[in-house]
Subunit: 145 residues, 2 copies
């Protein structure tokens, strides 16, 4: 594991923000410092830095990866309809991690928690259309079973 200007810059960018940036965002930010930086290098380093425990990654809507330098660990809510994500203020429960580690013998370091459902807009839209999800489900089941 060797140092490089690029790797340091990428790590600094991720650690230096409170948002949870995508690879592309990191790329554009880091290029301000290192204009010749290539996107492939960003991907390679993000992956390596995650393996090393320097940062964390999680997939947002559409399978796009986001990265988090632990600056502000928290959870998210994601809409099942439009994919919108928002931050949720719930205390992070590390006890769970330890419990799972004990039961499984795995090296559990943290967890990713994402709440799901419908956002305000989609919820309003759904009930306007008469498809709240719950009703629709019963309807379909009634027909099938």
């Amino acid at each position: 594991m060797r140092r490089s200007r690029q790797r340091d810059a990428i790590l600094a960018v991720v650690k230096g923000t409170d948002c949870h940036p995508t690879a592309d965002w990191v790329y554009r930010e880091a290029r301000k410092q290192i204009p010749g930086l290539s996107l492939g290098t960003v991907y390679r380093n993000l992956r390596v830095l995650c393996e090393l425990g320097e940062m964390r990654s999680y997939e947002g809507s559409g399978g796009v990866a986001h990265y988090d330098g632990y600056a502000a660990t928290h959870h998210h809510f994601r809409c099942d309809r439009c994919g919108e994500m928002q931050d949720i203020e719930v205390p992070v429960d590390c006890v769970m991690d330890r419990k799972v580690a004990e039961c499984t013998g795995l090296d559990v370091r943290y967890h990713v928690l994402e709440f799901r459902g419908l956002c305000h807009e989609c919820c309003a839209g759904a009930s306007r259309e008469g498809t709240t999800g719950e009703n629709e489900r019963d309807e379909m089941r009634g027909g099938t079973r």
Copy 2:
């Protein structure tokens, strides 16, 4: 929202398995029943069925979407190094969902919880190489800060 042979088949496939299949897996299974089925249709329906609350989706390693027909709701562990996923037996805590719903006013229906760290194999591999993640991190920080 109209019924179709294809949609019924896709839903049945996802509900009929305990694994958390990918779109491609669902496609191949459903084609056994409906040979002319197209992949686009599978994607379209998986998305719609998730919006309706019929099933759930989450991104696995590499940003590949997996689907879950609630047959057995549980959590996962995912290795930060090799991406391997395994099921974790921890009781699902719905109280959290209600709490978040109250605080935010969102229509929270469930949550996705994923533990992260290193799997047995990668953990052994990492310590053999002298890079457990923890050590490496200190090393890098020592140099940077």
